[in-house]
């Protein structure tokens, strides 16, 4: 029986493995970390906000454990890839083992954007400027506080498009920052109803089924200020955001006790090496190039699913994971 290699044990890789297994194929699932879950491990909930990330992962992991067809290899990377007449021989890092596979699903996801280089936001320098992932961690613990003094903040600002839609960092839109920021703002409002939350945005993009979240946020008194913050300063423990509200054309210094950076993402660090090993081209954005939507690459038997092919929300990742399993299955049966 043909074996399939799934590279990346995030939610996309997990789902692809489960679907491949359901289709009767044997799977080797590679994960560079010691546990499965990838970026999803860092999230409190999936938007629109009802579904717990931990619960989803626990469920999916139990399905993986219950499947005889899936062999999970954590702390594993790829040393070498050799082409074979019917697939690839892939040598793994570490103990020198290798697997012979008929097809490959690349599900390496993305790395969160590190906002340090955008100096005007003061990330790393100003303690009360945190990333959305750090906020997710706080939301998991049901307590959102200022890192500097542990106090629950009243005035909270979200900065949108951090490391997105910016020629100096990444030109593309993450497709998920607006939706998660709104989800997080509503979650904070639920924890601390007296919070005053402002979202500094250029455009609000809540695609697919999430437009209602945007309306809900406005109805819940979350303020939306069309602006891009040009600088953040701190005085007496209070942060001041320099903005121009482009709808009222007024410049102001907007006070905040906690600032959340709605960070986008960049291609996973392993992408260039992996692309080289499989002879795959990259897109302008540095992700794996999808030659034929939704999951086909230019290399025979190699498919890409989820954020490895470009940022997208989890539900889209899951759809691509399932699509990749079907493509692999069809590919292998046609080759016989």
């Amino acid at each position: 029986m043909d074996r399939v290699l799934v590279i990346g044990g995030g939610i996309t890789g997990i789902q692809a493995s489960l679907d491949l297994s359901q289709l009767g194929l044997s799977v080797t699932l590679l994960e560079k970390e010691s546990v499965l879950g990838g970026n999803l491990r860092k999230l409190d909930t999936l938007f629109p906000g009802e579904e717990s990330a931990d619960e989803l992962l626990t469920l999916k992991r139990s399905h993986i454990e219950g499947s005889k067809n899936i062999m999970v290899k954590t702390n594993s990377g790829i040393e070498k890839v050799e082409s074979r007449p019917c697939g690839y021989k892939v040598s793994l890092t570490g103990n020198g083992t290798s697997v012979e596979v008929g097809a490959v699903v690349i599900a390496t996801g993305f790395d969160p954007f590190a906002p340090g280089p955008i100096e005007e936001y003061g990330y790393g320098r100003l303690k009360d400027v945190v990333t959305a992932l750090e906020l997710e961690e706080m939301l998991k613990g049901k307590k959102v506080v200022r890192p500097s003094d542990g106090v629950i903040p009243k005035k909270i600002s979200f900065l949108q498009c951090v490391g997105s839609r910016d020629r100096k960092t990444n030109r593309y839109c993450s497709c998920f920052c607006c939706t998660y920021a709104i989800k997080e703002a509503l979650a904070i409002k639920k924890l601390t109803p007296q919070s005053e939350i402002a979202i500094m945005y250029m455009d609000i993009r809540t695609p697919y089924l999430y437009e209602h979240l945007y309306t809900e946020a406005r109805e819940n008194g979350i303020t939306f200020i069309r602006s891009r913050v040009s600088g953040i300063s701190e005085k007496g423990g209070l942060l001041k955001l320099d903005i121009e509200n482009t709808l009222t054309r007024e410049s102001e210094s907007f006070p905040s006790e906690l600032v959340i950076l709605s960070i986008g993402g960049v291609p996973s660090g392993s992408t260039p090496k992996l692309a080289d090993q499989f002879g795959l081209p990259l897109s302008d954005q540095g992700f794996f190039r999808v030659e034929e939507a939704p999951v086909k690459t230019s290399a025979e038997g190699v498919f890409v699913a989820g954020a490895a092919g470009g940022l997208k929300d989890i539900h889209s990742c899951l759809a691509e994971a399932s699509a990749s399993a079907l493509y692999v299955s069809t590919f292998l049966s046609e080759r016989k």
Binding site: R218, E219, N245, E250
Partner: protein
């Protein structure tokens, strides 16, 4: 609906009739309110409701305007006719027991009838306005038509409905008038209140909570359409007043009545029904160059239909439009005449 759903798309400002002649921005005022900033332009809005009709987010701009104007003082200089109508309202409030049953109408009425007719401020308009038309005949026409369908209405001695006080932000005055009228209406025992003005209709129907049926006379007459016959030549067009159209959703009824006139031909304005442009003034706020520009636009639009008569169902629209037609020196020569629908129908009754 709440203003919080506003996405700041700006459709409201794009469609606002006042924006055609000023820098007024409904979107801008919503944004300032959402951000708790002051500096709102409270008095430019015509409260015509065109923006809300088109708002993709269902923002209720009319309710928003009512709320932000509440207890705010409008500059008295911007109120037309030296605020005489506010003064009348004040006097009405100061003399609550004066019933002031309207008199001098030709036709039969019944002081104990269960169907009431309130002529509104028509006699006051005749006393204080010189706009080339008389308003009292609206009452005569109403009685003639009601008598024809077998109704001898009770002439209602009510105070002013309070429409203008309400939209000028004088909430206290409005509430006093509303309470006095509500009491009188309750005591009268009438089951149906008929008015000949779109403003009265909207105010009694929406801004009061009355336990009786409130109808514009056109709505009442339409129920007996089969027994009414009219005859008279000519091409007419119809202006949907904001209060009866977008505020109340009454569009077909006046047209059905006009269609009943043998020999008359109704042609529609370019912007008609839900899209009908406001005459240009509301609640006596700002009879100014900008509002006159809108009135002239309206009359131009009416003349371009080829109609000889512009009909309407709002006493105030009639006053403002007639005023511009008869302005001296003339702003522009207009051939069209402006007429109240009730009079138009009564004159053609057979």
């Amino acid at each position: 609906m709440s203003i919080y759903t506003c996405y700041q798309c700006g459709l409201c400002t794009g469609i606002c009739p006042k924006r055609l002649v000023t820098r007024y921005s409904p979107r801008g005022d919503l944004e300032r309110t959402l951000l708790a900033k002051d500096g709102l332009d409270l008095w430019s809005c015509l409260t015509c409701g065109l923006c809300s009709h088109y708002c993709p987010q269902g923002v209720g701009y009319l309710d928003f305007m009512k709320e932000v104007r509440n207890h705010k003082k409008v500059d008295q200089d911007t109120i037309a006719h030296k605020s005489v109508f506010n003064l009348i309202s004040q006097l009405m409030i100061q003399h609550p027991e004066k019933s002031g049953v309207p008199t001098g109408f030709v036709g039969e009425s019944d002081p104990k009838g269960l169907i009431g007719y309130f002529p509104g401020c028509i006699d006051f308009l005749d006393s204080f306005l010189e706009v080339g038309t008389f308003f009292h005949p609206i009452g005569d026409a109403a009685l003639k038509l009601l008598n024809k369908v077998g109704v001898t209405p009770r002439l209602m001695g009510l105070k002013c409905c309070g429409h203008d006080e309400l939209w000028q932000g004088n909430q206290d005055a409005f509430e006093r008038l509303r309470d006095l009228n509500t009491r009188s209406l309750k005591e009268s025992g009438i089951k149906t209140l008929i008015t000949t003005c779109a403003e009265c209709t909207r105010t009694f129907a929406i801004d009061y909570s009355l336990d009786l049926e409130v109808l514009h006379i056109s709505q009442f007459l339409e129920k007996s359409l089969g027994t009414l016959n009219f005859k008279g030549e000519g091409t007419v067009t119809y202006h949907d007043p904001c209060r009866l159209g977008r505020h109340m959703g009454v569009y077909d009824i006046p047209r059905n009545l006009i269609a009943r006139v043998k020999g008359a031909n109704l042609v529609e304005l370019e912007n008609t029904r839900e899209d009908c442009q406001c005459c240009g003034v509301s609640a006596w706020l700002g009879c100014c160059t900008e509002s006159k520009a809108l009135l002239v636009n309206k009359l131009d639009e009416a003349e371009s239909t080829g109609a000889a008569t512009l009909l309407t169902t709002c006493t105030k629209c009639l006053a403002h439009l007639s005023c511009v037609v008869h302005e001296k020196p003339p702003l522009k020569e207009f051939k069209i005449t402006v007429q109240d629908l009730t009079i138009f129908l009564a004159e053609r009754l057979v």
